[in-house]
Symmetry: D2
Subunit: 142 residues, 4 copies
C-alpha cells in the first residue's frame, strides 16, 4: 500500500487551504503518515489552556478532527471538500501543560464515507487522555 500525500505535501496543503489553524502561532504539526494512519503533534501554547494548566477540551477536539482529516489526505489525496459529519469524544484524564500527540487510525475509507479513531496522549507519556471517533463525507467526484 502506498500513500497519496507525504507529510510535507500535507503540511504545505494545510498551510495553503486552512491557514486559520495556525492563527496566533503554528502549533499543529504532521509527524508521520502512512496507509490509513496519521500522527500529529500539538505544541503547548497559552491559547490551548484552561485553569490549572490543563489543555482545553476544544483544543483536543480541534486536534482530533485535524488528525482524522490528515489521515484521509494521506490515504485519498487533496479532498478539500471532505466534511466532518460526526465526531464523538471521550475525555479520560486532564493532560498536563506539554505537547499532545494524536494518532489516527482509519477503520474504513469507502466511496462515500471515511471513518476512523484518534487516541491522544501527552508527549512522553503513554496514558490516553482523550479518544475520538469520527466520520468524514467524501466528495462524490473522486
Amino acid at each position: 500500500m502506498t500513500i497519496a500525500m507525504s507529510e510535507s505535501d500535507i503540511e504545505a496543503y494545510l498551510d495553503r487551504e486552512f491557514p486559520q489553524i495556525h492563527l496566533g502561532r503554528r502549533t499543529f504539526h504532521v509527524e508521520e503518515v502512512g496507509p490509513m494512519f496519521a500522527r500529529m503533534r500539538m505544541d503547548y501554547h497559552e491559547r490551548h489552556l484552561r485553569p490549572g494548566g490543563t489543555i482545553s477540551g476544544p483544543s483536543m477536539m480541534t486536534l482530533g478532527d485535524l488528525a482524522l482529516f490528515v489521515a484521509i489526505l494521506a490515504q485519498c489525496g487533496p479532498v478539500s471538500l471532505a466534511v466532518t459529519t460526526n465526531l464523538a469524544f471521550n475525555f479520560l484524564r486532564r493532560p498536563g501543560p506539554v505537547a499532545l500527540i494524536a494518532q489516527c487510525r482509519l477503520f474504513r475509507v469507502g466511496r462515500k464515507l471515511a471513518v476512523g479513531e484518534v487516541s491522544m496522549w501527552s508527549q512522553g507519556s503513554d496514558e490516553i487522555v482523550c479518544h475520538a471517533t469520527g466520520t468524514y463525507a467524501l466528495p462524490s467526484a473522486k
Copy 2:
C-alpha cells in the same frame, strides 16, 4: 423551579475563571438561562472561519461544550471542577458567516453526572447546523 446563577452571574464567573475563551476578542455571550436550559450566542469572527466563509467545526464544538457548561452553572451554581467526560457532534449543514445560536437542554442532572443536548443554528435561520450531546462529571463534594 429556580436557577442557581443568572445570565450576568455566569458571564462574570466565566470572565474570572475561564478568560481564555475570550482570547482574541469576546465572541461568546450568555443570552438566556433557565431551569435545565441555556442559550448562547457566538459572534462571527475571523478566528471561527474555514475556507468558503463557513464556521469551523472546532468553533461549533467549543460553543457546544460551553453551552452545556453554562446550563449546568445555571442549574447547579459555580461547579468549577465539573469536567466534560464525553461529547458527540453531528454536523448537519455548513453555517454561513453570521453569528451562531446554541440552545442547550439538560436531560438529567444527577448526583455524579449531568447530561444534555445542544442544538445550533445561524442567527435568523431555523435550520439546525450542528447537534451535540454531552456529559459532565460533577464534583462529589457539593
Copy 3:
C-alpha cells in the same frame, strides 16, 4: 409537507422485510408518523428485561435504531438498502417494567445521509430514560 408512507404502510413493510424484529412476540408498534417524525411503542415483555425489572440497554438501542428507520421510511419511502452508519446513546434513568415510547425527529435528510435523534420514556411518564442520535446512509439510486 406530505409523507411517503403511512403508519399502516410502514407496519406492513416491516412485517414483510424485517420479520425478525417480531421474533418471540410482536412488541414494536408504529404509533404515528409525520414529516421528519415518527413515534414508536415497545411493549413490555420478558425478553426486554434485566434484573430488577428494568428494560435492557440493548432493547432500548433496538427501539432507537428502529424509530430512526421508521421516520426515514415515512419521509423517503421504502429505502430497504438504507444502513445505519452510526448510533450514539445516552442512558439517563432505569425504565420500569412498562411499555417504552420512542419519538424520533429527523434533523436532516440529504442526498446521501439522514440524521436524527430519538427520545424515549416510559409510557405515562415524561422523564427521558434514553436519548439517541444516529445516521443512516441512503442508497444512491433514489
Copy 4:
C-alpha cells in the same frame, strides 16, 4: 497486574445474574479476559440476523455492551450495579452469517467511571465490522 475474575468466573456470574442474554439459545461466550481487556464471541444464530443474512445492528450493539461489561468484571470484580451511561457505535461493513468476535480494551477505570472501546469482526476475518466506545458508571460503595 492481575484480574479480579477469570473467564469461567465471569460466565458463571453472567448465567446467574443475567440469564436473559441466553434467551432462545446460548450465543455469547467469554473467550479471554486480561487486565483492562476482554474478548467475546457471539455465535451465528437466526435471532441475530437481518435480510440478506447479515447480522443485525442490535445484535452487534448487544455484543459491544456486553464485551465492555465483561472487561469491567475482569478488572473490578462483580459490580452488578454498574450501569451503562453511554455507548456510541460506528457500523463499518455488513458482517456475513458467521460468528462475531468482539475485543474490548478499557481506556480507563476510575473511581466513578470506566471507559473503553470494542472492535468487532467476523470470525476468521480481520476487517472491523463495528466499533464501539462506551462508559459505565461504577457503584460508589465498592
